[in-house]
């Protein structure tokens, strides 16, 4: 029936890692994810896990150690944020191209500069094209649940891709909230034992990993990575179905909130989805047909499914917690509008950049967006689709 607890998002991630009990964890501390390896290292010291904890000297080494561990045939995990992820950059691509199902807890924080330790999604958006599966989490519960599901998705032989579970730095990572944990033995059984097909420490099958890949092969290997990402969609749904059987908690590519008859809608990710739900509820009480779609699976992007959910709206706003600084809109906005165009769904759509560098996103900010959407739904007029909310004038 689950265990009623109260934990911060970082504690929840560390507990999930304890229950998963991976072979190797390699990490370097960085705010706001520091607590995850900190808590985990106490589990190692106390003998609660039999993981090899590698206290590396940098994030580049953390990811390198994970790459080495996975290539050797073991299950490896790490955690980081912002500049830590930036410092991993080279190895992030190595991990995905070597098809190593490493699992990372990414506690989202603004990438410098200027230096800012607070939440936005610029770290995650920087690696959106790196070939990692990317799951986003509204709260501590989802950060925990996503980690429990992570290895089953990443290690599937039709996938074999690394996976990161994102949650909002400080907003959920440092907020104590209620959570329902799963019993240790159930998690262990659900995650299962890692049995890689090809690995370096298999003396019966000597292999090379990561040699030179020239004009004759790299294109095909990139195609295979893209195929794996497409395959991941089916696997993500299968794993979610098993997870629902175990916990009763339902997951998909995205969560639709009061969308059945919605006329105006917001697409967003992570903690802002919770705030948006409370605003949707208050608008519904006033008779406004508002709805929300929260993206859980950002990579692979649910380009086929999303237009079905959004296609009947009269106006749509996509919220990006990272500005792509391209003069043409944020990453989520571009993905959503591209999928709508391809599916021939014509909904007037605007983009809101919000919450940069930890700027608090309030109910009033969300109400402001829905008010603008009511106007767009009525008039069809969009003067400027590239907008900001919560920006000081």
């Amino acid at each position: 029936m689950g265990i009623r607890e109260r934990l911060s998002g970082n504690e929840a991630a560390a507990i999930a890692m304890k229950q998963i009990n991976p072979d190797v964890v390699a990490a370097f501390p960085i705010t706001p994810s520091t607590e995850i390896p900190q808590y985990f290292s106490t589990f190692v010291s106390n003998g609660a896990v039999d993981t090899e904890f590698v206290a590396v000297e940098s994030e580049h080494s953390a990811m390198s150690a994970c790459v080495g561990a996975e290539a050797a045939g073991s299950r490896a995990m790490t955690a980081t944020s912002a500049n830590g992820l930036s410092y991993m950059w080279e190895m992030i691509y190595i991990a995905s191209s070597l098809r190593l199902p490493i699992v990372m807890s990414l506690v989202n924080r603004a990438v410098s500069g200027p230096l800012n330790i607070h939440n936005d999604h610029s770290d995650a958006m920087g690696v959106r094209d790196s070939g990692w599966i990317m799951l986003f989490s509204e709260n501590n519960q989802e950060a925990y649940d996503n980690l429990v599901m992570a290895h089953r998705i990443a290690e599937n032989k039709d996938v074999l891709l690394p996976l990161m579970v994102c949650q909002d730095g400080f907003i959920t990572s440092h907020s104590i909230e209620n959570i329902e944990l799963i019993e240790d033995n159930k998690v262990k059984e659900f995650v299962g034992t890692y049995k890689p097909e090809h690995y370096l420490l298999n003396d019966k099958e000597p292999i090379a990993i990561g040699p030179l890949d020239v004009q004759t092969y790299l294109f095909e290997h990139k195609f295979q990575q893209a195929e794996a990402m497409r395959n991941a969609k089916k696997v993500i749904l299968e794993v979610a179905k098993d997870f629902e059987k175990m916990t009763g908690r339902k997951y998909s590519f995205f969560e639709e909130y009061k969308m059945e008859d919605a006329e105006i809608g917001i697409v967003c990710m992570n903690s802002t989805a919770g705030t948006t739900k409370t605003v949707v509820d208050s608008l519904r009480e006033k008779g406004v047909k508002a709805g929300m779609v929260k993206i859980r699976v950002f990579r692979p992007f649910p380009a086929d499914e999303l237009p079905e959910a959004l296609g009947n709206l009269k106006a749509l706003a996509v919220m990006d917690k990272a500005d792509s600084l391209n003069g043409a809109g944020g990453a989520l906005f571009e993905d959503v509008t591209a999928s709508m165009y391809t599916a021939k769904k014509q909904v007037p759509t605007v983009n809101y950049i919000y919450g940069i560098g930890g700027r608090d996103t309030t109910s009033k900010d969300i109400e402001e967006i829905y008010t603008a959407l009511e106007d767009i739904a009525k008039t069809g007029n969009i003067d400027n689709p590239y907008r900001y909310v919560g920006l000081r004038k």
């Binding site: 400080f170 959920t172 104590i176 909230e177 209620n178 802002t272 919770g274 705030t275 409370t278 996103t361």
Partner: protein, 192 residues
């Protein structure tokens, strides 16, 4: 208790306002509530003004933003009354709880635009008496529990005994003093 109670803490770095907010969340959790306890992280240093928050509800809490219209405000250090707008957004039917020895007139003068209830407590005196040291957060925790009526005194004390036993597992000698600080605070908090 109302369906959702929102509390804002004002303290100075090092006084334990964040810890108090987490202990309050813990205590409310143990009575079956849904809770949030989170600090507003800034460039904290010892002595700098800090803010922490609590939401306590009978229903799951989904909102993830700071609290702008609290039901209650706790001021752990009364020098903040001069520099921080502690009553900003505070609901008129709510209350402010202040650690101070100032008189009613002095307090009123410092909160000219606030018409709601004011409670005061001398957390320094209680802390020195019970613990021999100045830790204002323990008495302030008891004060806000009493004023907000989140739980009964008995349930609160019983729960805190368990929390302290866990928190101070390595220095059990301080448990009794902390319990005494809570008990004294429950008695001495007064409306002015």
């Amino acid at each position: 208790m109302k369906d959702l109670i929102e509390i804002r803490w004002h303290g100075r770095g090092g006084q334990g306002a964040k810890t108090a907010s987490l202990l309050l969340a813990d205590a409310a959790f143990n009575t079956g509530k849904y809770i949030q306890g989170f600090p507003e992280y800034g460039p904290e240093r010892m002595g700098a003004p800090i803010t922490a928050y609590n939401r306590i509800s009978n229903e799951p809490i989904r909102i993830h933003s700071n609290i702008y219209e609290p039901d209650y405000v706790v001021v752990v250090d009364d020098t903040l009354l001069e520099s921080v707008n502690v009553t900003a957004g505070l609901k008129e039917d709510g209350a402010i709880v202040i650690n101070t020895t100032k008189s009613k007139d002095e307090i009123k003068k410092l909160l000219p635009n606030y018409n709601g209830d004011i409670y005061t407590i001398d957390a320094r005196k209680i802390s020195i008496e019970a613990l021999g040291k100045y830790f204002p957060n323990t008495p302030m925790l008891a004060a806000i529990v009493k004023v907000s009526g989140i739980m009964s005194d008995e349930n609160f004390l019983q729960d805190m005994k368990g929390s302290f036993a866990h928190k101070f597992a390595k220095k059990p000698e301080v448990i009794e003093g902390n319990m005494k600080a809570l008990e004294l605070a429950l008695q001495e908090i007064k409306k002015i």
